[in-house]
């Protein structure tokens, strides 16, 4: 009995591993199969002739390179903006006592109660009035302010000793200089965490581009995949390689920076 338990637990673990990982593996494997194997009858679980043909075709026909470019532009700009404004706001909230500080902090946290799912209609109307529909600006600016980001930075900076700032002030450093040469260099861990999360949020976003973008030339990868898969006859041999390519950046970032992901979840789960 004592010996059976570890065996059972290991079997269970590997069964679960199969359930969690096989669908991803199957998608990747299928993307290398020639289309006559994808739709073969009787079905073929294994294919002997794997090929890059689907990738070449999908990449060279249609606008997928464009969608990747759009996603990259939006992800990078929005992440830079998120980190910049979250650092500034988090610094103000953590290291200054000022009139209205608490009210502003709680107001920003309270916006968690207004997810895009609830305000998509007025957002659409406002962006329309600002002429920001079908524009990069509409994709980049509004989602860049996130309560989670500001909260993460604030919690991190609160734990930094105030003396650092006070000594710098005595030495005559300006507030901006304190922020730029003391706070920012000391904040690399939280900046790294926030950057990773922002990249994931923006690259994976679907609902936001769905509302802002109707012009196909401005589709992000996720929007393009979502729209094309909704069509009646799905062209799987074109869709599969693009799905694989679209998850590649995030999977690479995740594998490279797992620790930051995990730390971010811990920090986020404190709220």
């Amino acid at each position: 009995m004592k010996k059976l338990k570890p065996i059972f637990l290991n079997i269970l673990t590997y069964v679960l591993l199969f359930v969690f990982f096989f669908p991803i593996f199957w998608l990747v494997l299928s993307s290398f199969k020639p289309s006559y194997d994808l739709y073969a009858y009787p079905p073929k679980l294994l294919s002997t002739n794997l090929t890059f043909e689907n990738y070449v075709n999908a990449w060279s026909s249609g606008d997928f390179p464009l969608y990747f470019m759009n996603s990259a532009i939006v992800t990078i700009s929005s992440t830079v903006l998120t980190v910049a404004i979250s650092m500034m706001a988090g610094f103000a909230l953590a290291k200054y006592k000022f009139f209205g500080g608490n009210v502003i902090f709680w107001t920003m946290l309270a916006t968690l109660m207004l997810p895009l799912q609830v305000i998509m209609i007025p957002i659409f109307i406002i962006l329309k009035n600002f002429h920001m529909l079908n524009s990069y600006l509409g994709l980049i600016i509004p989602p860049s302010a996130t309560p989670t980001g500001i909260f993460l930075v604030r919690q991190y900076l609160v734990s930094l000793p105030n003396e650092l700032i006070e000594f710098a002030r005595i030495d005559g450093a300006s507030e901006w200089r304190i922020f730029w040469s003391i706070i920012i260099p000391l904040s690399t861990p939280v900046i790294a965490t926030l950057t990773i999360f922002s990249i994931m949020w923006r690259w994976n976003d679907f609902l936001w581009p769905l509302i802002v973008i109707s012009n196909e030339k401005l589709y992000t990868v996720q929007l393009a995949l979502g729209m094309f898969s909704g069509q009646h006859t799905i062209n799987w041999s074109g869709l599969l390689p693009m799905t694989v390519l679209s998850m590649l950046p995030i999977v690479v970032v995740f594998i490279a920076f797992q620790r930051l992901f995990i730390r971010g979840i811990y920090a986020g789960s404190v709220k």
């Binding site: 570890p6 637990l9 673990t13 679960l16 990982f21 669908p23 991803i24 199957w26 998608l27 299928s30 994808l38 739709y39 009858y41 009787p42 679980l45 910049a84 404004i85 500034m88 706001a89 610094f91 103000a92 909230l93 200054y96 000022f98 502003i104 920003m108 916006t111 109660m113 207004l114 997810p115 799912q117 609830v118 305000i119 998509m120 209609i121 007025p122 957002i123 109307i125 406002i126 509004p142 302010a145 507030e175 922020f179 994976n204 679907f206 996720q222 995949l225 979502g226 898969s229 909704g230 799905i234 799905t243 995030i250 992901f261 995990i262 979840i265 811990y266 789960s269 404190v270 709220k271």
Partner: protein, 290 residues
């Protein structure tokens, strides 16, 4: 020196103005729009007071979509809870080897977008050439209409979402399990407690704050789910997987009835608000997770 008083406001200005223009103002505008009969975001609109709110309850499918959302969450939350707790227990068990590598694989689905999750499972569950049905064919079993039959599609979505988010909640549970003092287990072992007794009388009670957090976060995620069903089933077959958020989306952007959709949004907002207040209250009372 007097300028110094303004410095925190200057640091806050960029973030706060975006909050103001793109979250807080829309929140207010949404409520105003819900009082108008508007065929679209432009064109003549008439003030109708709370009429849209009465229409919401008569409009075909909204209450059903809300009911469906609650039913979905009621199935989803315990499914997520048990799978992620189970994974966390396995990933902290001394009997299982190579845990740090295995964790990565369990977490992997959590970093994939809803669209990719939908496509992965669309491909796995396809009636004619999906992997699962291919396997059934080879084994001589009948193909199952996973995404084509209303009940199958609903259950498939419950399982697909658990697949997508359980790794994330596993990480939270692992943190909770690792923060339990080992002295408790040592003391229990001296008293001759069995593995099950240790789980039931130490692990589970000590995980209460973590469990509350997991239940609240998974409730919010289930209630707000949009992209997976939107891409995978398009809310179908029929309206079998049309949840509340998609109903709002369709009313606003397909039927172009912004006023009515805004009223629906406001009702959703009240439901989310209630969950949020609950979350706030509970986290105030039990600030154990850190």
């Amino acid at each position: 020196m007097r300028l110094r008083k303004f410095i925190p406001y200057i640091f806050l200005a960029p973030a706060f103005s975006i909050f103001l223009i793109f979250i807080i103002y829309p929140g207010i505008l949404g409520f105003i729009v819900s009082m108008y009969r508007t065929p679209y975001s432009f064109g003549p609109s008439t003030f109708v007071g709370f009429n849209n709110y009465f229409s919401v309850f008569k409009s075909p499918g909204f209450l059903e979509s809300l009911e469906r959302t609650f039913l979905f969450s009621a199935l989803e939350i315990p499914t997520i809870y048990f799978i992620s707790l189970g994974l966390a227990l396995l990933m902290t068990s001394p009997s299982v080897k190579a845990k740090s590598v295995l964790r990565v694989f369990f977490f992997l689905p959590s970093v994939l977008s809803g669209v990719i999750t939908a496509l992965i499972w669309d491909w796995m569950l396809n009636y004619d050439f999906g992997f699962v049905n291919n396997l059934f064919t080879i084994l001589g079993l009948k193909n199952l209409p996973f995404l084509l039959n209303p009940n199958y599609a609903f259950i498939s979505l419950v399982l697909i979402m658990s697949w997508a988010v359980s790794g994330f909640f596993m990480v939270i549970f692992i943190a909770g399990i690792q923060s339990i003092p080992t002295e408790l287990y040592e003391a229990a072992e001296i008293d001759g407690a069995s593995t099950f007794e240790k789980f039931a009388f130490i692990t589970l009670p000590m995980l209460k704050p973590t469990s509350i957090l997991v239940v609240i976060l998974s409730t919010i995620q289930s209630m707000q789910l949009f992209d997976i069903p939107f891409v995978l089933t398009g809310g179908g077959p029929g309206e079998a997987t049309t949840f509340a958020v998609e109903k709002v989306y369709n009313t606003a952007f397909i039927n172009l009835n912004m006023g009515l959709a805004s009223a629906m949004s406001f009702i959703l907002f009240l439901i989310f608000l209630a969950i949020g207040i609950l979350q706030f209250k509970v986290s105030r009372e039990g600030q154990f997770w850190a």
